[in-house]
Subunit: 372 residues, 4 copies
């Protein structure tokens, strides 16, 4: 089976090349790059030397010779390639935001400043968060070629930390706060002041407060899940604040979910450490989450006492989750950790490919996190 990667020299593209090169079902890769056409991937990333060696071609060459095409291009340029793939009858997995909003062009346009050029493609595209849409992807793939809008990194980390609470634990209509921190690779390979070493090392700061493009994606995921799985429940409000921290990879989301009354514990004194009663409730929450994800190959509920940490999922496709009850007994605190380049981008894209083709869902994604 031949996999193609358009935009192979950006960080997400290169990570796809790394993962697909070790995939047991992928015999060969075909790669393209606008910036480095004519060179080879191992010239651009010498880390590939002796392991991976491919020329960088044109996008057209990729599409004409692949069984599935991954697009790791920036936003707003990939639609024609999606169209070409559909025409050529091959699957298209897009790592940009272009196909994440289905037919909600209005929201997409409001945040990305572009119109849909092929509206019909967006009607058939599927948001590729397997933990939400696995069945949908499978069914679509059984019927024909699919377009996957691979989720954003923050939305992946945020959504997975919230979903299990939406059925019963979360207070209906309550405001869920996602305070997320990303490693610098999330900014991509293009140099800029924000990601210049001397500007971001040894520091941390929020950015695009109340204005990051991943806000509507997270909100949409939560709304969609409630509509489909718990249509009787009210919508939740979402607040999302991204931060940049001096680490290469990883996203750590700390999520605050107000609990509905029956999940709350009234502390004798909220100025005291957790009571026994609160510990018991914390365990119930842990069980709720563990039950929700019991069949998920890439979600790890951390045991009591272990907190989610960016370095514990590095290079793996895992999403680690830990849960706590706040000191007032009224808010669930979930923390999730992913590798932004794997579960937050290339790894999830491969997971989607595995689902589409009926491969073992963990094929090519069994790396043990690097430990330190």
């Amino acid at each position: 089976m031949i996999a193609g990667v358009i935009g192979a020299t950006g960080y997400a593209g290169a990570e796809l090349v790394r993962l697909l090169s070790g995939h047991p079902e992928v015999e060969k890769l075909v790669l393209s790059s606008v910036s480095f056409e004519g060179e080879r991937i191992e010239d651009i990333y010498p880390g590939f030397l002796s392991r991976v060696s491919y020329p960088l071609l044109k996008a057209e060459d990729v599409i004409s010779s692949s069984d599935v095409v991954f697009s790791a291009l920036p936003h707003a340029v990939g639609e024609p390639y999606a169209a070409a793939c559909m025409e050529k009858d091959i699957h298209f997995i897009d790592l940009s935001a272009d196909f994440r909003f289905d037919d909600d062009e209005e929201t997409y346009s409001a945040w990305y400043g572009k119109q849909y050029k092929y509206p019909e493609l967006h009607k058939k595209s599927i948001y590729g968060l397997p933990e939400m849409n696995r069945q949908k992807i499978k069914e679509a793939a059984a019927k024909g070629k699919v377009i996957i809008g691979n989720p954003g990194c923050y939305p992946t980390a945020a959504t997975l930390g919230i979903l299990p609470a939406l059925g019963s634990a979360a207070q209906e209509g309550g405001t869920i706060i996602v305070n997320a921190v990303s490693g610098i690779s999330g900014g991509g390979r293009e140099p800029s002041r924000s990601f210049h070493y001397s500007e971001c090392a040894d520091s941390i700061s929020p950015y695009k407060i109340a204005s990051h493009r991943h806000s509507p994606e997270i909100a949409r995921n939560i709304a969609r899940f409630i509509e489909s799985s718990h249509p009787e429940r009210q919508a939740q409000k979402i607040i999302f604040t991204p931060h940049l921290a001096p680490m290469n990879r990883g996203i750590l989301s700390t999520i605050y979910i107000p609990l509905r009354d029956e999940w709350r514990v009234t502390p004798v004194n909220s100025n005291r450490p957790q009571s026994k009663e609160m510990e018991i409730k914390t365990e119930e929450i842990l069980n709720l989450y563990a039950g929700f994800y019991k069949n998920e190959p890439f979600v790890r509920m951390l045991p009591k006492g272990v907190t989610a940490a960016a370095n514990r999922v590095r290079q793996s496709n895992f999403c680690d989750i830990c849960v706590s009850l706040d000191i007032n007994g009224s808010t669930l605190i979930a923390a999730t950790a992913i590798d932004n380049m794997v579960k937050g981008a290339a790894g999830q894209a491969v997971q989607n490919m595995n689902i589409i083709f009926g491969f073992n869902e963990t094929a090519g994604l069994q790396a043990i996190p690097i430990l330190f």
Copy 2:
């Protein structure tokens, strides 16, 4: 004027030595260290060579020859020194938590596992956050010798981000969330697994979720301020989650404060970027904060478009604050940044000394933040 430092070889102690060595009113320092008694401070911190040179004596020697004593000892060992200072009629500024809870021994004991040995000292001690208690400190110092409970690092960053909202903007009784990230120096100089380079570099994770000792201190600050300044208003609930990030110094707190109705803006669509109306409200919030802090020498309200960042206050006594309105128009997002070793510890202690002695409040604290 002679300043003494007990516990001078821990990080907070050494930072005190650094700051006091450049203080225009301090002629001489007297230092003690249990671990390194008999050595010299510049042996322990060779960075001091050619600039600072003092022997490390016993605590008793410090007390017997100083006009003010700073204690940078761990929690629960400093009370006898406070008593000795009162007896000798000199001021005592304690950087541990021992004198932060006034006469609320119950809360102190619940979190620190110790009883007060000199309860009467705690009745007279003052919580040394100048932005809350400057007047109280001045008045007490005018009457006699004082004991200052110098605030914790997280409580300083959190409290300063919340106070201005308590008078009118914050929803009464609402839950305020403080999501805070600290640099590793906050863990002190003693080696341990949590602060071992290979365990915490290139990562970020929460710790002591719902169980950190700074929780009750933050909650107490907020409660006290409401009681004294806005007694008609209900109490707020506080959620505090600390994280560790790979930076040497700094605390970045991202604070979520639900707004009361008149401060809210109803967005046409909460799935859209901020409206004009929301931008106007954000400016009102900025003005509210700027007004509150207009006479504070160490609080900087950042202009629109600049976010608080740990590296922008490094080595200074500043607390930087930026404010935003969330995308739903109902929550104030304030981010504050301090250097945990300066405004979060030694710098604030020097600021308290300046207030006590009637020095210019910024004396010895005029360093420009290191820029990169």
Copy 3:
């Protein structure tokens, strides 16, 4: 095939567990830990959760049920286990320094302060640098069970950068300087001031100048290679200076080798950038090295213009090498990069296992370096 790891909870031990868990010929691991006996490896390293799960037993249990035993214990405690393995007729691969000095007990004792307890074991042990001793290891393994003294991290990086020059390019009797920089994981998992985050982050410094234990190991390697491969040539002197830099993993060695006359180029003016003639000579040096390593699966000669970098070999078993000619035309500058935990410890141990058992030498070691 069952592999055992004694001392599985230190960094080298855990890295062995990570690599062996993905090895195609290893069916099962048996692990021991003195510090954590009775717990499980995934409790100590939660990164292993869902991927690796083993109890931590006693060393005896490991030896009694393994086909090969890796020892990742500290220096000077492993000899009895080596003896037990020989008695039980299984291979023993020691990651400590105990078996790196063959029968040269005097040097070992001078540097490690211990005597040999089982001198005969040292006579049969083999220094496990495959690029020097592959044949020797193969032959010994064909005849019986072997004891491998797995090389130190610095000696691996240094030796591989020097060997190709010893046959003809290096000036006989000249002094070779190895200026090496290690990531902090080289200091192991035990907390100490030197590896405390706040002490070593955002800095670099040399340590144990002229007194590091890896000095005699490097010198011995060079001497041994000359004796065996170029007995007509004089010995070289070695200077080795280790440094600590703020990175998790990796060693970067910059090596200065004075050239013999026929390899020198006389620059017209040594105050000018490289001449054409010097570039040609540089290429000859590159060819010399490339020829020397042409059959080595884990040594990568970098193409012209690419320099060795610690992050380009991360998590792989590669040793990257780049070579240059100094501006005076008289010194070869080689830079080598390895992952100190892989080629510098656990990966090389697995490579040795592969050679012993006749597996494909790259089995279990085919990971592509993590790219960023």
Copy 4:
């Protein structure tokens, strides 16, 4: 006294602004910036807020209203400003390389690719390393206005580590190797791939091996010092290899100087730790260096057992030096540490200003290094 800074918004320029703002003799600054003309320095560096506030003007405005002009422009653009300053009869201190090569236009052109436009200015310019040229600077300033070529960061760290050995200890004609590591701020404020966080964090690598522009500057310093102070001695050869390490600031140079016979110690066995005799010789070397620098306010000879470390000089104008004898007894190993932005750039420029104006040489440069 009014100080002007041309190119105030680059890193060296901003550091000048920071240092000059705290200088007791400087009443006012006048700043210019090509990129940000019309804005204010505190808009570009919000860390300056509440401390430093100046408009960014044109270079002409700076020259017309200053008593001394610092130029922090890139190479090859500052000459006309130097000419204008001479015409206006004010001192000019250039942080670029333009005035570092005196009348040796050939070397300058070979490395920087530009011709001198005002050759006569280069005849009168002085290389501003006070430890070499203090007297020369003083004398010139007594006679008229001066042009200072402020030294490069690497040349400062390298030269100071070598000078004391040139009189007697160094082997005449021997090759001195400077293996230097710089923090990323050395690359300036302009974003580029080399200094992009994800490319250089958590790694180390050499760059511009045998081709860095600071090579001829170091070589020239050594040659000039020998010519002037020890004209009877032969020249030394210099090898210089720069590296980039993941730290914000700092340069650490490890320098290998072959010793002449009378300074050597023949080890009984070079495969053994240092002998008593070698320790004694090390102390002699330390004394040699300490004597050489005994009146230097910014050179600190570290006591035995303390090694030079980049974080120990941070933000100070110090150059720390430690010395050792190699294990073979024949090479002096000196390690030097400076803050590349202070002693390696802006601080040294201020030191030069102090010398020119007859201020206390440490005025404005008395900051204690930040300790952690």
